[in-house]
Amino acid sequence: MSSAEDRFREMFYEEARELLISLEEGLMELERRRGNRAHLDQTFRAAHSLKGAAAMVGLGAIAEFTHGIEAVLDQIRSGLMGVDAEIITCLLEARDHLAAMVEAEAAHSPIPPSTELVQRLAGLLGGATRSAAKPTPAPEPTPTPPPAPPVPAVKARQPKRESPPPARRQKKKATPEPPADPLPTRYQISLRPGPDVLKRGINLAGIFDELRELGETTLVADVGSVPPLELIDPEQSYLIWSITLATEAPPERIDEVFLFLAEDSEITIGRLGADGRLVPLGGPVLQSIGPLKPPRRASRAKVAATEPQAALVAPVVTPPAHPANGVNGSSSAPAPARPATVPTPRPHARIRVDAGQLDELVGLAGELVVVTDNLMALREIRGMEPWTHALESLERVSRQIRDTTLDLRMVPVDELFSRFPRVVRDLSDRSGKEIDLRIIGQETRLDRTIVERLGDPMVHLIRNAVDHALELPDERLAKGKPRGGRITLSAGHEGDRVAIRVEDDGRGLDREKIVRKGIALGMVPNGTSPDDPRVVSLIFEPGFSTRDSVTDMSGRGVGLDVVRDAVRALRGGVSVESVPGKGTAFVFRLPLTLALIDGLLVETAGGKFVVPLAQVEECVSLAGVRSALAEGRPCVAVRGELVPMVSLRNLFGADGVAPARQELLLTRHAGQRVGVAVDRLLGRVQAVIQSLGEGLHGLGRFSGATILGDGTVSLILDLSAVVSESRFAESAPRPIHTAGSRAESYR
């Protein structure tokens, strides 16, 4: 395969992923806002564009499978089919399979379309009449009288018709308007493709094929603008096509054929009167057809004149696109229906940027800030006026660059939240629990890496909520709660962090049970009170799960420790609030960005380390503070509170004597304050984080490295990993369970 073709494929995969997302969202919305015309059109268009795009890069199987989905959507759109949960489920499953096909193709191991789904989709088409009998959701605000009973909606493959030309198949309109005669209208189309259409990968032959599907087509190429041979650019299109098309399809169908060409090509479509005169349809097609009167298909009087052509027309297989719209015509057509064929207007122009390059840019901008800081420090020494000005502007510019590039990494958390309505719907389906999902603050922006990696932990929590926390409808009613359980996802700022909450109004955590289990596992001392604040955080410990049974949805032997680890890896924390009988809320607190941290530079045993400021609650001097042993762990009294202490020197196995005046960094670990002793505090730094690379991933205590102003490398300490590590070291003979990630790496 040529590299150009590869490139088109790549572009297709990216586009397909986006379209699949809109398709999914569209389907989910469809269930809620049944009759919304504009919305239906948008959903349909996602399927249609995907089909077109797949066909264009030669992925026939994908195009064909998409066609099945598109056909069903088209029926819904035409009002020939009602929407119910079953149809949506089928479409969603088909979408999932389609997504799998696309990904498999991208991984060069294509999978075939699912025959089962193809049949089910076809089955939906076949059963269309059933649901069409009830008033269908087609165009909402139309004054059109509802489909009158005597002219029932006729579905695609039933050549049931009432009036004149008995031989022709007539399969449109759910409206009682005078039945449009089925005779083909002739259109004269002039197409001057933009010079770049070939480079954009548009297959003109494919477009002509689509036209032929609509009806009999005559193609004439005008070679007038083809330059002499030596001037020809083989990638440029020079031909002007004039096309005559005889079709009974509504003009919108013709529109759709040219959908992908419309943006840079000159296209004019005119209707040929029966007398052979051209009735122009106006300027560029895609805009022109909207306000147009429906092509009145030559009035009755002219029928005779056009009759002979009828015989030539190839039968149209696809059902009409805009039945009500096209027939009712005129002003009654709702305005929102029009955008159907106009390419989606995008609120902001977006470009795709390679994530790696972006990271590099962020890194560079951060370094620029560091360099500037160094120069600023020089200024102090020299004190030269012109330098000062230059440096100040350098500082301003570099900070702006940094802020802008950092901003590029930020995406609204909606990109994460938008997949959950689907997840919740599926869970609700399977569990028999009614769930009302609320989403708040989806416009909050977060680092894209965080948004990408938070998906699995959140799915985990949502599954837990549905599986364990929310009660069945009857139980809820008995408790005086509303039938349906509620799950609320919210995002918002809390200081310089972003808090994401996953909240349910279910039964709440059973503290008694947690304590019993904790004692049984040796994680908490005997006789611990259920009200002890440490109790709740036990659920995040590895190996802790109060459920013994494994269900399909959660509890597959994976505990909340995985959630906690995932959030920690993002330099965030997770906490839980729970009120028995009222519900539980899990709160992730995350940094705004991963690329840059505010840190504290500390020294221990001759090494300099950066500690993320966000992990430090307080610093206290250890001078004169006596340490004591409590429960076999060294502790210090900080303002009367006994705080367990971890010595970084001990952890690093450093030789030598610690300075008399050590400093204690107070951090919070598993709901408890813990102190980490370091030799010296050197000051605050802003650090651009670099990964330590593949080979060092096993070292949890360092979350990365950064380059200091003097060019030396400093490691970034992860205090919570340091604390867990030391707890493991000190309590080694205790439970096997607290071993955690450290133990895993021993295997």
Binding site: Q690, G693, E694, G695, V713, Y746
Partner: protein, 169 residues
């Protein structure tokens, strides 16, 4: 057009053309590494130690703004450290690929001695046994001045070290 033809003919010969190898010494053994893999050779400089890191990890350095780990292969290869080195060791900056990721790593070596051009047919397959702990990391042998140079497979070295990491060797 003419250029095109010469180009392709060059391509053909390219396959059996001699490749250049950087020859270096480590713990008394001679090793060779494709020159294409070696970005540069640095003098030993100050390094940031990684407390608790594996023994073969000497530390991390700042290579023009990038944090690069430096490994000492003597530990995994079971070689002894030269107690009285005649000169300061240096660091080879090597490109390797683990999975689909390219990464830059430093390798401590006692001395870089030479760059040799070796035709592919002079590289003998590596024996399955007999090279000690380094055996799995040797791609082949080059006979050079009455001794064998061990051609290293850096990709394999780094992917293996990566997975050994947790053992804190």
């Amino acid at each position: 057009m003419v250029d095109l033809i010469t180009d392709t003919s060059l391509d053909v010969t390219d396959q059996d053309r001699a490749q250049s190898y950087v020859v270096f010494r480590l713990g008394g053994e001679g090793y060779a590494l494709e020159v294409m893999r070696v970005q540069e050779v640095l003098d030993m400089r100050s390094m940031t130690e990684v407390p608790g890191g594996p023994k073969y990890l000497l530390g991390v350095i700042n290579l023009r703004g990038h944090v690069v780990p430096v490994y000492d292969l003597r530990t995994p290869f079971g070689l002894v450290k030269d107690q009285n080195p005649s000169r300061a060791p240096c660091v080879l900056i090597v490109e390797s690929s683990v999975g689909s990721d390219a990464q830059i790593t430093g390798l401590l070596v006692d001395r870089v001695s030479d760059v040799l051009e070796i035709p592919p047919d002079e590289i003998q397959p590596s024996p399955r046994l007999g090279l000690g702990k380094a055996t799995p990391f040797v791609r082949g042998l080059i006979r050079h001045q009455d001794a064998f140079l061990l051609v290293l497979d850096v990709d394999r070295i780094f992917s293996t070290l990566g997975s050994l990491n947790g053992e804190g060797a």
